[in-house]
C-alpha cells in the first residue's frame, strides 16, 4: 500500500515536472535590463536643535533663507510662512490670527485652521477615525536645522505617535517632506493620514480674486467667487485613481488624476504644488469656502493606511477594515511660488513642465512636421461570446488596412500613423497569449507587407497591445498564480470576471510583442495599461506597491522606446512621460463635478511639443462639434478607431461597450475632412503652448511659442488659426 502511494506521488511529481518544463518560461526582467530599484529613504535630523532668534511683529522667526525666499516659523504654533525676498510677499501656512477672530467654526475645525497639519489616526479595536492637529492636544514640538531647511518634530505623548515635517527652500519655493523614518507608532494608535499644510495660502471667501486648480481631467478650476451647494461637496480624490486592490465598491466613473499637481491663485500671486514623492498614495483635497470654514483651501493628504471592505462571508455585506501595514514611503511636495503673469493656470502648467524637464521626466521634444499625423487605430479581430465559447470575429485584415491607408492617402491624408489593434490570435486582446499573429488577418507575412506598404507611402505602422486587464477565458496564465491579489489575499475579479495581471508577469509576457514587431520593422507600439493603471499587488512573497507597478511599466516603456522609433500609451499618467511620444485618449473634459467651475488645458500645456496626444476618437465622440473644437483648442492630433466591417458585428465582443460606430466606409470622408482641419495646426506640432485664455463666453485662444494663435469659438462652431511670425 505504501509502495503504491509512493508510486502515485512520484508519478504526480514527474508529471508536474514535465508540465512545468514543457511550458515555455517567460523571459526574465533582466533580459530587458529592468532591475527593481533600491529604496533609499530620506534622512531624519535628530540632533541639530534650532533655537529661534527674535520674532517679528507677526510672531515669525526666520529659520532659513536662500536669497530668493526666506522661511519663517512661528515657534509657538509651528505655523510657517515663506517670504519672497524681492517682492516681500508672504505665503502663510495658515490664516493670520486676527482674521480667524471672524471665523464662526469652533472646536477642532477652528484649531485645524491654525495648524500646519491635520493628522488622522485610529485606535486598535476601534473603527472610528480620529483627528488631531498641532493644537488639540498640543504635541511636543522640537525644531532641528539642516542644509537650507528646518525640521519640526511632533510627539504626541498620550497617543504614542510621533512624526516629523521638514521644510526646505528651493530656487522656486518651498519643499515640504514627511520622511517615513520619522514616523513612530509605539502604542495602540495607528497613523492613517497626514494632511500637510492644509491651509497653505488659503483664501477667505472673496477677499481676493482667484481660484484653486485641481487635476481633474485636463485641469479644473474652483473659483472663489461662486456660491456653493450646501451639503459638503468637496474635491477629495487619490492621485492615479482608487486602489483597485482594495476592492472598493464601484463608484460613479470619473476622470482619474493623472498628474500630481494642484495649485492656487490669489490676486497676482499663486503657486503650483507638485507632489514629488509618495504621490502614489496621496490624495488631493480642495475644500471651497462655506463647506467647513469660510476658507478656500487646497492641499495634499498623505495617506498611510487605507480603508477597505473586508468580505467576511460570501453573502454578507463586507465590513470596512483598515489596512494593517503602514505604507512605508517618504512624502515630499514642492510649492512653486508664482507671481505676476505666471500666477495663473498656464503659469502653473509651465512651472510643472519645467519641473518635469529638469528632472528628466519629460522625454525628448517632438520633431517638427510638415503635416500632422493621423492616428488611425484599426481593429483586426475580436473574440465574441457565444453559447459555444469564444468565437473569432474578423473585422479588418492586414490587406484591408493597406487598402484603407491607400484610400486615405488619395483623399488627402498626408501622413498616416496606422495603429493596428486586435492582431492577436483568435482575437484574444485580453490575454498574455498573443502569438502567432492571427492567420485569418494575414499572419506575420501580412503584417510585414502592411508595414512595407504603409511605410512606402510615407506613413507609419504601429501595433497595439494590452498589458493589464486579462480575461480568464482568453488568458493562459492562471488568475490564481499571476492575477493581482487584493488586500485580503484573494485574486480581485471585476464583475465581468476579468482580472489584472501581475505587472512583473505582464512586462515579461509582453517582451515578445516588442521583439516580434521590432523585427518586422514596425514604427511603434501603443500600450494599454501602463499609462492608466497603477495598483498594488498583495501577492504574498512578491507584494508590489503602486510605485513598483509604475516602475515596472515605465521600465518596459523604456525597453519599447529602445526598440522602436516611438512608443505610446492609452492615457498618460505622468510617470510614463519620459518614455513615450504619443498619448491616445487624453481626457479633454472634466468629471462634470458640481464644484469644478471651469475646465482648462493644464495637462495639454504641459505636454504639447514633447508628447503628441489625441482626444477621444473622432468617431466615438459623445458630442461631435464640441469635442472636435475642444481637441483643436487643446492642441490634440486627429484620431479615429475604425474597422472594415460594420461595427454591428462586434456585438457580443468586449468592444460593444464602446465602438458603436466604426465602419471605414461610413467614416472615410469625415476622416479626410477632419484631417484637413487638424492639419492647419501642423506647424505647431512640435511647439509649446505659451498661453491659453478665455476671450469671452465660449471663445478661447491658445497661443503657441511662435506666436500662433488658435481661436476656438464654441458658439459659432468654428476656429481660426493665425500663424505667428516663425522664429
Amino acid at each position: 500500500m505504501a509502495l503504491l502511494a509512493a508510486g502515485v506521488c512520484a508519478a504526480i511529481v514527474v508529471v508536474t515536472a514535465i508540465v512545468v518544463a514543457s511550458k515555455p518560461a517567460l523571459p526574465a526582467l533582466s533580459e530587458m535590463q529592468i532591475r527593481m530599484p533600491e529604496q533609499s529613504l530620506f534622512p531624519v535630523y535628530p540632533d541639530a536643535a534650532w533655537s529661534p532668534g527674535g520674532t517679528d511683529a507677526n510672531g515669525y522667526a526666520e529659520a532659513a533663507s536662500n536669497g530668493k525666499f526666506s522661511l519663517l516659523v512661528d515657534p509657538g504654533t509651528s505655523q510657517i510662512a515663506v517670504r519672497d525676498t524681492r517682492s516681500g510677499y508672504v505665503w502663510r501656512s495658515n490664516p493670520p490670527a486676527e482674521q480667524l477672530e471672524k471665523e464662526t467654526v469652533k472646536g477642532l475645525q477652528l484649531s485645524n485652521l491654525q495648524s500646519p497639519f491635520i493628522l488622522e489616526y485610529m485606535t486598535t479595536g476601534n473603527t472610528q477615525r480620529n483627528m488631531t492637529n498641532a493644537l488639540e492636544p498640543k504635541p511636543d514640538i522640537r525644531y532641528d536645522t539642516f542644509d537650507k531647511g528646518l525640521q519640526a518634530s511632533y510627539t504626541y505623548e498620550e497617543l504614542q505617535l510621533s512624526f516629523v515635517i521638514q521644510y526646505e527652500l528651493t530656487g522656486s519655493g518651498l519643499e515640504v517632506s514627511v520622511p517615513t523614518q520619522g514616523i513612530e507608532e509605539n502604542g495602540e494608535n495607528y497613523l492613517l493620514a497626514i494632511n500637510v499644510l492644509p491651509f497653505f495660502g488659503a483664501v477667505s471667501g472673496t477677499e481676493e480674486e482667484g481660484y484653486m486648480f485641481v487635476p481633474d481631467g485636463p485641469g479644473g478650476l474652483i473659483r472663489f467667487d461662486k456660491k456653493r451647494i450646501a451639503g459638503g461637496v468637496r474635491y477629495d480624490y487619490p492621485i492615479y485613481g482608487d486602489e483597485i486592490a482594495n476592492a472598493k465598491s464601484p463608484s460613479i466613473p470619473r476622470e482619474q488624476i493623472s498628474y500630481p499637481v494642484f495649485g492656487l491663485k490669489r490676486g497676482d500671486h499663486g503657486y503650483a504644488a507638485i507632489v514629488k514623492e509618495g504621490k502614489y498614495s496621496t490624495w488631493i483635497k480642495a475644500v471651497p469656502a462655506g463647506i467647513v470654514s469660510t476658507y478656500h483651501s487646497i492641499s495634499a493628504n498623505f495617506v498611510y493606511r487605507e480603508e477597505y471592505p473586508r468580505k467576511v462571508s460570501r453573502l454578507g455585506a463586507p465590513i470596512n477594515t483598515m489596512q494593517k501595514e503602514r505604507i512605508h514611503r517618504d512624502r515630499r511636495i514642492e510649492y512653486r511660488l508664482l507671481s505676476g503673469e505666471e500666477a495663473d493656470y498656464t503659469g502653473m502648467a509651465h512651472s510643472y513642465r519645467d519641473y518635469l524637464e529638469q528632472s528628466g521626466m519629460l522625454g525628448k521634444p517632438l520633431e517638427s512636421v510638415t503635416h500632422v499625423p493621423l492616428q488611425l487605430s484599426v481593429i483586426g479581430g475580436a473574440a465574441k461570446v457565444t453559447s459555444g465559447g469564444l468565437r473569432y470575429v474578423p473585422m479588418t485584415s492586414f490587406k484591408q488596412a493597406e487598402k484603407m491607408a491607400g484610400e486615405l492617402a488619395s483623399s488627402g491624408v498626408e501622413k498616416l500613423r496606422l495603429i493596428y489593434n486586435g492582431w492577436q490570435q483568435d482575437g484574444f486582446v485580453e490575454s498574455e497569449r498573443r502569438f502567432p499573429i492571427e492567420a485569418e488577418l494575414g499572419g506575420e507575412s501580412g503584417a510585414a507587407r502592411l508595414i512595407e506598404t504603409v511605410q512606402a507611402q510615407g506613413g507609419e505602422v504601429w501595433f497595439a497591445d494590452n498589458m493589464a486587464v486579462m480575461d480568464p477565458e482568453q488568458a493562459e496564465v492562471s488568475a490564481k498564480t499571476e492575477g493581482m491579489r487584493g488586500v485580503d489575499g484573494t485574486v480581485v475579479f471585476n464583475r465581468q470576471g476579468k482580472f489584472m495581471l501581475n505587472p512583473g508577469t505582464a512586462v515579461r509576457a509582453a517582451k515578445k510583442t516588442v521583439d516580434t514587431f521590432a523585427a518586422l520593422g514596425a514604427d511603434g507600439l501603443l500600450l494599454q495599461g501602463p499609462g492608466e493603471s497603477v495598483f498594488r499587488d498583495y501577492n504574498s512573497g512578491a507584494a508590489l506597491e503602486r510605485e513598483d507597478t509604475a516602475y515596472l511599466y515605465n521600465s518596459f516603456l523604456g525597453y519599447v522606446q529602445n526598440r522602436f522609433a516611438s512608443a505610446g500609451t492609452v492615457h498618460g499618467n505622468d510617470y510614463a512621460l519620459a518614455n513615450i511620444d504619443l498619448i491616445t485618449e487624453l481626457p479633454t473634459s472634466s468629471s462634470y463635478d458640481v464644484i469644478v467651475d471651469e475646465t482648462v488645458p493644464f495637462y495639454p500645456i504641459v505636454l504639447h511639443g514633447s508628447i503628441a496626444y489625441t482626444a477621444a476618437p473622432g468617431n466615438l465622440r459623445q458630442m461631435q462639434d464640441e469635442e472636435l473644437l475642444r481637441a483643436i483648442e487643446y492642441g490634440a492630433v486627429p484620431y479615429f478607431i475604425l474597422t472594415e466591417r460594420p461595427s454591428r458585428q462586434l456585438i457580443g465582443t468586449s468592444y460593444d461597450t464602446m465602438l458603436y460606430s466604426s465602419e471605414f466606409a461610413v467614416w472615410k470622408e469625415r476622416v479626410a475632412a477632419e484631417y484637413k482641419k487638424f492639419d492647419q495646426l501642423a506647424h505647431v506640432y512640435s511647439l509649446r503652448i505659451s498661453d491659453h485664455r478665455k476671450m469671452s463666453e465660449g471663445v478661447f485662444v491658445t497661443t503657441y511659442e511662435d506666436g500662433t494663435e488658435v481661436t476656438v469659438d464654441y458658439q459659432a462652431n468654428r476656429f481660426d488659426v493665425a500663424k505667428g511670425a516663425a522664429k
Partner: protein, 677 residues
C-alpha cells in the same frame, strides 16, 4: 416586431453590467454616466453615445433661499418651471434658464403653504398646489395671490377614515382635478371644478401572490378576514399629456408602473409590465416619447409612444458630486425644447438634461417611423446609422424605407440586420413575386424537366443496380435501408419484419448520423424568417440533446417497462425499431428546410404543419413499435406507453438530482482543494 422591445429582461442584471467599472474601462468615461440599451439578441447592455447630456444644476446659485427638498416640477407652455419647494413651504417659479423669478405661498394667512408636494399650472396661469401639510388643494391666481382652497370633499362615498393627503395633481381643461392622495390605494381622487367629489380614477390592480391565491381558495370567510387585506399599490405621480391623457407612475408594483389613462380611466399600455420598478415620475414630450426617472438607480428611461423602453441613462450616488447624477429623484418634467428637468429632493437641486444632436436625430427618426412617415424619416435614419451601427431599430427603419422605395433586396438585408422577420418576409414576398413573374414559365418547364429527368435517371439507376451482382454486404445494407423507408409507410408490417432480426450497426449508425446532420442543418440552414436571431446564440449541443436525449431515454425506459410487463422485445429490437422511427424526421425535414427558404411569414403554416406532421408521425411510429415489437394488444400498448413516459420523467428527475448532488460534491472537494493549496 416592435414587440421585441417588450420582452422583459432582468433589470438587476442590467445594473450589474452597468456597474462594471471596477477595473479601468477601455474608453475613458467622459460623462459620469452611460447611455445604454438592451440588445434583445444577445441580452447585452450596449453602450451608445448620449442622447441627453447634463445642461446644468439649479438650486442655490442665484437663490436667496436655496431649494429644499424640491419634490415636484411643472413646466408651462412658455417653459417657465414651477417647483414645489417642499422644505421651504413655497412654490418657486423659474425661467427657462433656471433663474429665479418669484415664489408663491404667503408668509401668513390663508395663502400659507405647508410642505407642498405638488404643483400644477393651467393654461390660464392659475396655480394649483397640493398643499400636503395642510391637507388641501390651494389655488393661486396667475399673479400669485391666494384664491381659494379645497379640503377633503364631503361625500357619502368617501369613507370616514379616508385621509386627504394630496401630494400631486393635474387639472384638465374642464377644471377637473385629478389628485394623487398619499398612500391611497383607491387611485386618483377626482374633484370637479367646484370641488365636488366625482369618484376615484385609474386605480392599480391588486397583486396577488400565489400564496394569496392559495389562501383565498382554502381559507374560509372568517379566516380571510383576519388576513391583512391585499391592497393595490398606490399611485405616486401624475402628469397630463398634450392630448389630455393622464400619465400615472406607481412604484413597487410588478406591472402597470406606468399607465396612460384616457378619460374613461382605461390604460393605453394595458397594465403592461415595465422593468423599472421604482419609477418616481414620468413625463412626455410633444412627440409622445415618455421619460421615466428611476429612484432605485437614478437612471432615466426613454420610452417610445407605445411604452417600449428604448434607452437608459444616468446613475445614482448618495451625495451628488457630479452633474447628471441623481440621489433621490422626485419629479421629472419635459420642456417644449425637449429638455428634461429632474428634481432631486435629497440633494436639494434640479438637474437639467439637454438633447444631443444624436438624440435629436434618433428620436426624430423614431417618431416619424412610428407615425408611418417612412419617407420623411429617411435622412434621420441615415444620420443615425452613420453615428451608431448597433441599434436594431435603425435597420428596421431603413428596411421600411427601402421597402417603400421598392428596393426589396436592400430591404431584405436591412431587416436581416435588424433581425426582423416580418419586414424581411414582406420584402421577400416582393422579391419572390418579381421572380415568379419573370421566371414562372421557365420554372415550370424546368421543374417538369427535372422531375421527368430525375425519374428517368432513378429508373435507370435501379435497373442498372438490379442488373448487377453486388457484394453480399452491400446487398444487406441496401435491403435494410429499403426496410427503413418501408417501415415509415407500412409501420405494422415493417416493425414486424424487424422482429428477431439484427439490423447492422452501420445502418443504425447511419440513420442516427443522418438525423443529427439534418438537425444541425435545420438549425443553421433554415430560411431567415424561421430564425430571426443571431445564430451564434444557438447552443448546438442543446439542440441536438433535445432531439436525442428523449429518444435515448425512450429506448431505455421502453425496454425496462416492457421487460417487466411481459413484452417480447429485446433491447436490440427496441433500439432498432426506435431508430427506424427517426426516419420520418429525416425524410420530412429536408423539404421543410427547402421550403423555409421559399415561404413568407403568412405561409409559414405550411412549414409548421409539415413539422407537426412528422412529429405526429414519429409518435405514431413509437406507439406502433411498442405494440409490434412487444406483441401487445392496443390497450396494453396504451398502458405501456404511458408507463414508459412516466419512467422517462422519473429517469430525468433522478439524473437531475444526481447531477446536482454530484456538482455539490465536486464543489466541496474543489473548495477543500482550494483551501489546502
Amino acid at each position: 416586431m416592435r414587440n421585441r422591445f417588450n420582452r422583459p429582461f432582468p433589470k438587476a442584471l442590467l445594473l450589474l453590467c452597468m456597474l462594471c467599472l471596477f477595473l479601468p474601462d477601455t474608453v475613458s468615461a467622459k460623462l459620469p454616466y452611460k447611455t445604454w440599451f438592451n440588445d434583445q439578441q444577445t441580452g447585452r447592455m450596449i453602450t451608445t453615445q448620449p442622447l441627453y447630456v447634463p445642461d446644468g444644476i439649479i438650486g442655490w446659485d442665484g437663490f436667496e433661499l436655496p431649494l429644499s427638498a424640491p419634490s415636484d416640477l411643472f413646466i408651462t407652455k412658455d417653459n417657465h418651471v414651477y417647483v414645489a419647494d417642499t422644505g421651504n413651504n413655497r412654490i418657486v417659479e423659474l425661467d427657462e434658464q433656471g433663474k429665479f423669478v418669484r415664489h408663491i405661498g404667503e408668509a401668513d394667512g390663508d395663502g400659507m403653504l405647508n410642505q407642498p408636494l405638488g404643483v400644477f399650472v393651467t393654461e390660464e396661469g392659475t396655480i394649483y398646489v397640493a398643499d400636503t401639510g395642510n391637507n388641501r388643494i390651494a389655488v393661486f391666481t396667475k399673479g400669485g395671490r391666494f384664491q381659494q382652497a379645497y379640503g377633503k370633499p364631503e361625500s357619502p362615498l368617501l369613507p370616514q377614515e379616508y385621509f386627504f393627503v394630496p401630494s400631486k395633481l393635474v387639472v384638465d381643461v374642464r377644471g377637473v382635478m385629478y389628485i394623487v392622495v398619499k398612500d391611497s390605494y383607491q387611485g386618483l381622487l377626482r374633484l370637479d371644478a367646484k370641488g365636488k367629489f366625482t369618484g376615484f380614477f385609474g386605480s392599480n390592480k391588486t397583486e396577488l401572490s400565489w400564496l394569496d391565491r392559495l389562501k383565498r381558495a382554502v381559507l374560509n370567510k372568517k379566516q380571510l378576514e383576519k388576513e391583512i387585506a391585499r391592497r393595490p399599490g398606490s399611485i405616486e405621480n401624475v402628469a397630463l399629456t398634450g392630448e389630455g391623457f393622464l400619465l400615472t407612475t406607481s412604484s413597487g408594483l410588478s406591472d402597470g408602473q406606468l399607465k396612460r389613462l384616457n378619460a374613461g380611466g382605461m390604460d393605453a399600455f394595458q397594465n403592461k409590465r415595465f422593468n423599472e420598478f421604482q419609477l418616481s415620475d414620468a413625463g412626455v414630450d410633444q412627440s409622445n416619447f415618455l421619460y421615466g426617472v428611476n429612484r432605485e438607480d437614478g437612471a432615466i428611461s426613454i420610452y417610445d409612444p407605445q411604452g417600449n423602453v428604448l434607452f437608459y441613462f444616468g446613475d445614482t450616488d448618495k451625495t451628488v458630486h457630479q452633474l447628471g447624477i441623481l440621489s433621490y429623484p422626485s419629479s421629472l418634467a419635459v420642456s417644449s425644447d425637449n429638455k428634461l428637468w429632474v428634481s432631486d429632493s435629497a440633494s436639494n437641486t434640479i438637474q437639467v438634461f439637454k438633447r444631443t444632436a444624436f438624440g435629436e436625430s434618433f428620436l426624430t427618426a423614431a417618431k416619424l417611423y412610428y407615425e408611418g412617415r417612412y419617407k420623411e424619416s429617411k435622412p434621420y435614419w441615415e444620420e443615425v446609422a452613420k453615428e451608431n451601427g448597433m441599434i436594431n431599430l435603425t435597420f428596421e427603419g431603413l428596411g421600411k424605407i427601402s421597402l417603400h422605395e421598392k428596393q426589396y433586396e436592400t430591404a431584405m438585408a436591412q431587416f436581416e440586420d435588424a433581425y426582423n422577420a416580418a419586414g424581411y418576409s414582406e420584402a421577400f414576398w416582393s422579391v419572390r413575386y418579381e421572380w415568379i413573374k419573370q421566371y414562372f414559365l421557365y420554372a415550370v418547364v424546368g421543374l417538369a424537366l427535372v422531375l421527368w429527368g430525375g425519374r428517368l435517371l432513378l429508373r435507370r439507376t435501379f435497373a442498372y443496380a438490379e442488373g448487377r451482382s453486388w457484394p453480399p454486404l452491400s446487398v444487406r445494407y441496401g435491403r435494410e435501408m429499403k426496410d427503413a423507408l418501408y417501415t415509415m409507410l407500412h409501420p405494422y408490417e415493417g416493425f414486424y419484419r424487424l422482429k428477431e432480426r439484427k439490423i447492422s450497426w452501420a445502418i443504425l449508425g447511419l440513420i442516427v448520423v443522418l438525423a443529427a446532420g439534418i438537425r444541425i442543418v435545420s438549425v443553421y440552414g433554415m430560411g431567415f424568417i424561421f430564425h430571426p436571431y443571431d445564430l451564434s446564440r444557438v447552443n448546438l449541443t442543446m439542440s441536438l440533446a433535445t432531439l436525442f436525449a428523449p429518444w435515448a431515454t425512450w429506448i431505455i425506459a421502453n425496454y425496462l417497462v416492457s421487460a417487466v410487463k411481459g413484452g417480447e422485445g429485446r433491447l436490440r429490437e427496441v433500439l432498432q425499431a426506435s431508430t427506424f422511427a427517426l426516419v420520418p424526421y429525416i425524410a420530412l425535414m429536408i423539404p421543410v428546410i427547402a421550403l423555409s427558404h421559399i415561404v413568407v411569414l403568412e405561409e409559414r403554416i405550411i412549414v409548421d404543419s409539415i413539422e407537426q406532421i412528422y412529429w405526429i408521425w414519429m409518435l405514431a411510429l413509437f406507439f406502433i413499435m411498442t405494440q409490434v415489437i412487444h406483441n401487445f394488444d392496443f390497450l396494453e400498448t396504451v398502458k405501456n406507453v404511458l408507463i414508459t413516459l412516466c419512467t422517462i420523467v422519473v429517469i430525468w428527475i433522478f439524473l437531475v438530482i444526481i447531477a446536482g448532488l454530484g456538482f455539490n460534491l465536486f464543489d466541496f472537494v474543489y473548495q477543500i482543494f482550494r483551501e489546502v493549496t
